[in-house]
Structures are given as structure tokens and as C-alpha cells.
Symmetry: D2
Amino acid sequence: TTQVTLVQIDNYGPWTVTPEPRREMDLQTMQSRLFADIAQFVGSRDGYAFFTRFDNMVAVTNGLDDRDHERLQATIRNRYPVTVSLGVSVAERPIDALEDATGRIQAAGSAQDHSRTEVLAGEYVDAPGDDDLSIAHFDVNDATGKYTDQLNEFDSFIRIEQGYAALMKRLREEHGALSFFVGGDNIISICPDMTEADYRATIDHVSEAADVDFKVGVGRGRSAHEAGFAAKHALEDCRYEGTTVEFAAPTAVTR
Amino acid sequence: TTQVTLVQIDNYGPWTVTPEPRREMDLQTMQSRLFADIAQFVGSRDGYAFFTRFDNMVAVTNGLDDRDHERLQATIRNRYPVTVSLGVSVAERPIDALEDATGRIQAAGSAQDHSRTEVLAGEYVDAPGDDDLSIAHFDVNDATGKYTDQLNEFDSFIRIEQGYAALMKRLREEHGALSFFVGGDNIISICPDMTEADYRATIDHVSEAADVDFKVGVGRGRSAHEAGFAAKHALEDCRYEGTTVEFAAPTAVTR
Amino acid sequence: TTQVTLVQIDNYGPWTVTPEPRREMDLQTMQSRLFADIAQFVGSRDGYAFFTRFDNMVAVTNGLDDRDHERLQATIRNRYPVTVSLGVSVAERPIDALEDATGRIQAAGSAQDHSRTEVLAGEYVDAPGDDDLSIAHFDVNDATGKYTDQLNEFDSFIRIEQGYAALMKRLREEHGALSFFVGGDNIISICPDMTEADYRATIDHVSEAADVDFKVGVGRGRSAHEAGFAAKHALEDCRYEGTTVEFAAPTAVTR
Amino acid sequence: TTQVTLVQIDNYGPWTVTPEPRREMDLQTMQSRLFADIAQFVGSRDGYAFFTRFDNMVAVTNGLDDRDHERLQATIRNRYPVTVSLGVSVAERPIDALEDATGRIQAAGSAQDHSRTEVLAGEYVDAPGDDDLSIAHFDVNDATGKYTDQLNEFDSFIRIEQGYAALMKRLREEHGALSFFVGGDNIISICPDMTEADYRATIDHVSEAADVDFKVGVGRGRSAHEAGFAAKHALEDCRYEGTTVEFAAPTAVTR
Ligand SMILES: Nc1nc2c(ncn2[C@@H]2O[C@H](COP(=O)(O)OP(=O)(O)OP(=O)(O)O)[C@@H](O)[C@H]2O)c(=O)[nH]1
Ligand SMILES: Nc1nc2c(ncn2[C@@H]2O[C@H](COP(=O)(O)OP(=O)(O)OP(=O)(O)O)[C@@H](O)[C@H]2O)c(=O)[nH]1
Ligand SMILES: Nc1nc2c(ncn2[C@@H]2O[C@H](COP(=O)(O)OP(=O)(O)OP(=O)(O)O)[C@@H](O)[C@H]2O)c(=O)[nH]1
Ligand SMILES: Nc1nc2c(ncn2[C@@H]2O[C@H](COP(=O)(O)OP(=O)(O)OP(=O)(O)O)[C@@H](O)[C@H]2O)c(=O)[nH]1
Ligand SMILES: [Ca+2]
Ligand SMILES: [Ca+2]
Ligand SMILES: [Ca+2]
Ligand SMILES: [Ca+2]
């Protein structure tokens, strides 16, 4: 059961060019700080937030209720020149949760409707369970040796990007998972129940389609942090064992 | 003539998992704030910085000298738990500048060599000219109406990502340009001299390969900001005229 | 019942001058961002944090437990070049809580003992009550008309500072309250039970000692935010009624 | 010759309570981040900025011209929910520069006039000299041993505050210097030409009036950073020599 929140900056396109185009680096600074604040707010409550397109950000918010969402909305209003709308929903398949969360915002008006501000519409997990969430942490094998220390940075980046483009598409189409690039050579996917064979097939597909080799650690938990932290430990297991897919042992991870 | 700086976090991979994996949202917060600080430092001196992979960031730094680079390095050391290495170089084709900038850091050691810290190696533009830089600002037509207000956010995002993946690859291979996603449906490319036909061919290629339709504004200038700001105005011209490619009139843009 | 947390940067003095003095504006940036992050972390959980001396910050943390404190400590470690120690305690008189909180850190070693890092020692409120906290929000009458628009900024500032110096001392000595300047002409005091006559006497004392005239709104609540928000509303009542001391009606304030 | 900039948030008082009072910790976060951004902008150009009252901040801006000031104003407009007015002036005595800078903003309207926004009025140093600025860095002797490790934090803070209140007043009245608390036990003063005897008399006065013992390092330079950095080195000399007043040798300090 995944609870997903869509964060959409209200009427942002027009704002960026009114009264005339704004300095790009100011937009970049504003966007990335806004994301950092959301990551910190959600993250310190054990959720995960992803920058996605920056004007639309996706978060996994199991454990956050409507009061928390209201507060996030208020603190942004109080500190930024823009406001945000929030759509929240719950489903087994992550994509279904996001589909519904998006629909709740769309129903209230266009992303560029200047009279639509600070929508807060959603439903929340009501009976949280210990393994509600499944998170996979993908990582490229020896990215440092094969790319970073060998190619110019843009060519390294192209490789990682093409790998990401292939992985995100495949996981979405086959499994309804949501995959996000989180920097370096790392991708975090919010997944439904998937088998080891599913992960292997995914990695093989990407290796063929984009010639990039991933390994993956998979974890479950009550919150994104719990599941994601277990996934990171499983990924460390891949490193030590030299394996490609590792599932975390089903023990609670704290902190 | 493009001056490119590669910013590489020193020994970052090992740091993220020592003594055990760090909370992902703390990494996200730290990375995006580090990028924001670099964007602000470089941007307030009329350069452009891009987040790229976050552990490796690329900046266009015409107008910044070695003293500025030293200072950037020092202010990061004083405020973050990590340090950065900087490689700087100059060339007609942006990719050649980045190739050389990357090589200067690689020559000093691996990105994961814990004894390699705070490399600063570079060469700088010595005779700046009024139209040294060419920047193209690409933007998807009616992304709001076609994607954001219609699809769930992940499916919108996949469209934009696939468009970006196709565009970045094509422009790098055909022209040695460096293209960066800057949020929403926007891509900024650091380009060599290219004709209107080149831009048109690029846009047609992406339309076929990824079924995403871009328009583009192109500007020139002495600094990234000057060129990029002219490109933004040219893009506004596309909007008003309903055209696909616009070049900025060769007038100096200030501010 | 006030729960107070002392946040102390570990071994900060030596760090500021090692290997040689650090750029002052980098220290200022680092300090004020660290404070901002603590204010946001504590504040989004309905506590209050004050910058105090920046190397030592004081927070009112009713509602935050040891897990929250652990997390605050971890997120700072993950994103800053410094770490913090936290001492937490509870008492009727705010100063007694701070005295004990301070003692818990001091017991573990000196603020400049380089081997003392990340102390976390404390006790927490165990049976929270609806009016555990009392907060007074002091504000200078017509500071804009009398100072800001009349004097040069430093002379305005001296007036406010002298008013603050007199107020903080008096409230600490007579009542064991903790008073913090929060910008502009505003002072927030964490108070024990005090009568209207107590507040009046305080304001009269400051008026005589420093020739600065304050009004005050007082609120109670289960959390610093609840009490402080009620105090702000009471202060607005002073404005509308032209009165000097107002107590908030004992109704729960939400949000 | 000191160039001083007054940064005043436009119409801030009304904003803080419209439509109803805003969460205090959001105000604190916003204010301290705004200051941090100004400190970074000014500081990376070798100026100094002080938080003062947060709604009014004072900066020493030798080396920054009107273009830099315009940019600072624009970047704040693009990233914050508030705008700022800037008044700039130059004089031998720092207080005279601030007096004139303040007057330039006051002349354009009240700090709470909602139609007065983004004033930029000033004059700038036109013939910079190598020792234009004089900065004194004051520091309490053994604050850790006498206060931080001994008293509860509020009582330590009261001592430092009373010392600061006495020092700032004395230096302003006798010399027209501007003194700012910068955290811990440190005060930085922007001074006119003063002799060793002047500094000694100041320290003696504060010792008697507030029973707090300072030492001081004094430096000169072309910029605030240069002067302040020399002052920090001179302060280190006090530490090593056990002296109370040290002047930096008149050598250029770089970086
Ligand atoms: N977001 C995120 N990024 C990480 C994490 N761990 C590593 N990275 C990124 O991944 C990059 C590469 O690090 P590694 O994966 O350790 O290096 P590698 O050379 O690929 O080595 P192996 O994966 O061990 O084969 C780093 O620079 C980081 O940007 C993590 O936990 N979260
Ligand atoms: N980085 C950056 N992003 C921008 C800029 N302008 C717009 N955006 C982004 O682009 C998104 C879509 O805005 P628009 O391009 O105006 O909207 P659209 O529906 O595609 O409309 P047209 O482009 O006019 O057809 C916004 O939400 C922003 O995220 C800009 O100057 N810089
Ligand atoms: N921290 C904080 N500062 C505030 C708040 N309200 C106002 N201020 C500060 O106080 C300054 C002066 O605002 P006011 O107190 O409204 O102005 P005034 O001229 O004194 O008017 P009156 O108080 O109504 O007599 C503002 O610039 C802010 O810096 C608040 O709620 N919190
Ligand atoms: N802003 C700023 N604060 C500093 C600087 N150096 C030290 N501090 C602050 O001063 C506090 C006390 O440090 P010290 O002055 O080294 O300690 P002390 O115990 O007083 O020792 P002595 O001054 O050597 O007698 C630190 O916690 C910092 O907050 C500096 O360069 N700038
Ligand atoms: Ca890897
Ligand atoms: Ca568009
Ligand atoms: Ca007031
Ligand atoms: Ca000291």
C-alpha cells in the first residue's frame, strides 16, 4: 500500500516569465531549495520526496496525515514567492496512487489556472502495516571505474541518463512502479510486489536496451525510509557478495 | 568560445555509506542545497550551473577567473561536510571544453581516491568577446494542455524524459553541444555555432524518435546569462509568432 | 511545564580558526542556515527555537521526544561540517529546565573538548497538558514611527537592544523566564505563570531603565506554537484595543 | 572610507500579520535564510553583512557597485515572498555613512508604506584605497571556561549580551563605530581610525560597566574581508601573546 503525494507549483509557467523572463539561476536556486525543504519536511517524517520535474514533485508519504500536508503547504506559502497544490492518494500499485493523486489536482483546475491555488485534496492510509511499502535501490556497477574516471562528464551522464530512461519506462509499463534518479548512478523505485525474477528481467532488459549494468537492493517497510533503508543495506549486500539482486531480510530497520 | 567548469564532489560514493548508509532524504537535501549554492555563486556572476548528476555538476563560467573558483571551493569547504574538485577549460565546441576540464581532474586521481581532494586545475578565457557563447532554450509546446493537465504526473514525466534523452544524445553526437534539463519542460543547451536548419533538424529528429515537440529560442552573448537571457526572449518570440526556431537579434541584453 | 533543549555545536571555537581563521561570511552563512534548519525541524513539530548565541541555541520542545532529537542530530551530522550536542530537560520554571539541560551537556565534557561529540542526554515531558506552556510576545509601540523612519538604523537598533537587554535581565531575575529577540522590535519570552500585574511591572521597569515602551500578548498552550500563536493574537488585541497587556482567551488554537 | 548599505525589508510588519499572524518559526526560517543569502552574496565579493534586526540589515560593501546592488535586489525578489530596499552611502565615520544610507530610504517613504518597494538609492566609493576600512574583532577571554562550561546557557548569554550592549553603545557614542554581535562571544566593529589607547579605554569601560573582559584584534584593508581577516589574525596574536589589543601588521592579506 503506497501513499503518494503530488506537489504541484501553482501557475508556475506564467510566473517564470512575468513581467519578463526571470534569471535562470534564480529559478534553479529557488526550485532546488524548494525541493530540499520538501525533502527535509517529508524525510524527517520518514517519507521520501523526489524532484521529478521540479514544478511537479512526487513524494511517498505513508505516515503523513492531512495535518502534516496542511503544514507543508503553509510553510511554503510563508517562505517562497510561490504556492503549491497537493494531491494525495493510496493504492497497491504506486502508479494507481499517483494517477488518482494527480486527478484530484486536475479536477480543481489547470496547472496554469491563476485562480487555482493551494488545492489540498486527498485520502490517506488508515491502517498502516509493517510492510506496506516496497522500495528498490538500483545502482550502476563500478560507475566510477567505467564512466566517471574514464569519459568526459557529459558522456558519463548520457550513459546514466539512457539507463535511467530505459529503466523508468520498463518498470512503469510492466509493473506500475515509479522510478526516480537520485544523483550519481542511483535510481530509487517505488514498487509493487515483485519477484527476484522480475528484477532480474528488468536489469537484463536495461543492459540490452541501454548497455548499462545495474544491481539492485530491495526492502520493505512501514515507511519509505524504513523500506528504502533496508534496500540500501541489501544493496551493500550486493556489493559484498558480488550479486545482482538482493532482498533485505524482513527485519524492522530503525532510525 | 565556451569556458566550462566541472564540479566533482570528492570521494562522495564512500562517504554516502560510511559508517553505514545515510538517510536518503538527507543526501537529497544536501545535494540540492549544494547545487543551489553553486547556481547562486556562478549565476550572480553571470554564469550558468547545472545539476547534472549532483555528484558531478557542469557549469558555464565565462567571466569567472581562478580567484572566483578558489573562493567557490573555499566556501563549500567551510559550510558542507564534503569538498569539491574543480576542472576548468575553454574550447570552441562545448564538449571539447568539458572533455579537457574532466581530464584535468581525472589526471589528479580517481573520483573515489580519498587522498585526492580539492583539485583546482584549469585554464580561463583570456580575451572575452561579445558573442563568445551560444545558448539554446528548448521548451515543449503546450506541455500543460497535452501532459500536465491530462496524464498522471509520472506519465507526463516519462514523456519529457524521453524527449530529453533523445535531444541530449542527438545534440551531443551531431554538434558537441551540452544539454541540461532545467525543470518543467525546459532544456538548456550550450551550443557551438549552429544554423536554423540544424535546430530544425534536431527538433524534427526528437519529434520522430520520442514523439515530443519542442520549440527553441537561441541567443548569443559574452556570458551564459547574456546568451541565455537572449534565448529566453527569443523563445517568447516563438510563443507570440507561433514559430519553432527563433534567434535573438544580436543586441546586448543587460541585467 | 516547559521542556527545554540546549543545542550546542561541538568544539566550534577551535573549528572556526583551524587550520587558520575562516571567512567570517562563511561562518555567518553556516550558522544562520543551521539555525534555520533547526527552527524548521522544531517548528514543524510545534516547538520554538531561538538563535541565542548561534553556537548555543535554545529550543522549547514540548511534544518532541528522544527519537525526534536523535533525528535532528543525525540530519545535522549528514549535512553540515559540524555536529551538535543536545541536552533536554523539563521544569515548571523555564530557567530550571535550561539549567538542568545545560548541566547534562556540561557533565559530558567541555564545549571545547574535541573528544566530546553528539551528546544526547535528557528527560522529556511524559504527561502533556493543555496549558503546559506560557509564552509572552513583546513588541515595541510604533517602532516604525519612532525609530525606523526617524533615526539611522544603528541608533534604532541600539534602542531596541537596550530595551531587550533590560527586559531579558529583569524577566530572568524576577521570574526565571527566558527571553529572546526574534527580529524587528519583537521579543518572545518563555514564562512561568505570571499575573497581569507582573507583566505591567516588567514593562514599566523597562520603560524607566531603557526608555523603550513595550506592549505584550500572553498565551498558553500544549506546545510552543499553540501558546505563541495565542500570544500573537493577544498582541493583535493590544493593537486594536490600545492596551498594554492582553491574555489570550483560554481556547485551543489550532494550526 | 566606509561604504555602508542598509537593507530594509519592504512593508514587513504588516506582512507578518496578514491575513493573520504567521507561524513564528516560518518567519525565523525565512529571516535567517534571507540573511544567509545576503551574507553569501556580499561576502563572496569581500563585503560583510550583519543581521542586525533582520528586518533591517547593515552591510559594509566597499567593492560592490550599483550593478551588484541591483542584482542582489533582483535575486531576492525572485526567490522570497518579500522584497528589499537598499540605501548606500560613503563616509569616513561609519555611522555617518549609515545615517546617510538610512536617509535615502526614509526619503522614499516609510518602512511600512505599502507602495514603497525596492528603493535603490546610493553613492559608491569611487577611488578605493588599500586601507579604506578599519575593522575590530572583539572576543571574550575564556568564555568557555568562565561561562559556557559553568553557567546555564541563558546566564552565559545574558553576560555576553550585557557586554555587547555596553560595547556597542560606547563605540557608537565615542567614535561613531558600528558594532555587531556575530555569535558565540564575538563582536565585530566597523571603526574609524582609532588608537590603541582608544581600544584599551573601550575595553576597560565595558569591563567596569558590564563585568565582561574582551580582547581585540584590529585590521585594515581595501575590503571588509581584507580588514576583518587581518583583524582575526591580530586576534590570534592576542591569544598567543596574552595581550589585550593587537593591530595587524600593515601587509595585504589575500583570500
Ligand atoms: N542518492 C544517493 N546517491 C548515492 C548513494 N550512494 C552512492 N551514491 C552516488 O553514486 C555515486 C557513485 O558511487 P558508487 O556507486 O559507490 O561507486 P561505483 O564506482 O559505481 O561503485 P560500485 O557501485 O560499488 O560498483 C556517488 O558519487 C553518489 O553520487 C546513495 O545512497 N544515495
Ligand atoms: N527552468 C525554467 N523552467 C521554466 C521556464 N519557463 C517555464 N518553465 C517550466 O515550464 C513549465 C511549463 O510552462 P510553459 O512552458 O509556460 O507551459 P506550456 O503549457 O508548455 O505552454 P507553452 O510553452 O507556452 O506552449 C513550468 O511549469 C516551468 O516548470 C524558465 O524560464 N526556466
Ligand atoms: N519575529 C517577528 N517579528 C515581527 C512580527 N510582527 C512584526 N515583526 C517585526 O516587527 C517589525 C515592526 O513591525 P510592527 O511592530 O508591526 O510595527 P510598529 O511600527 O512597531 O507598529 P505597532 O507595533 O503596531 O505599534 C517588523 O518589521 C518585523 O520585523 C512577528 O510576528 N514575529
Ligand atoms: N563569528 C565568529 N565566531 C567565532 C569565531 N571564533 C570563535 N567564535 C565563537 O566564539 C565561541 C567561543 O570560542 P573561543 O573564543 O575560541 O573560546 P574561549 O573559551 O573564549 O577562548 P579564548 O577566546 O581563546 O580565551 C565559539 O563557540 C564561536 O561561537 C569567529 O571567527 N567568528
Ligand atoms: Ca555504483
Ligand atoms: Ca512549454
Ligand atoms: Ca511594534
Ligand atoms: Ca573567546
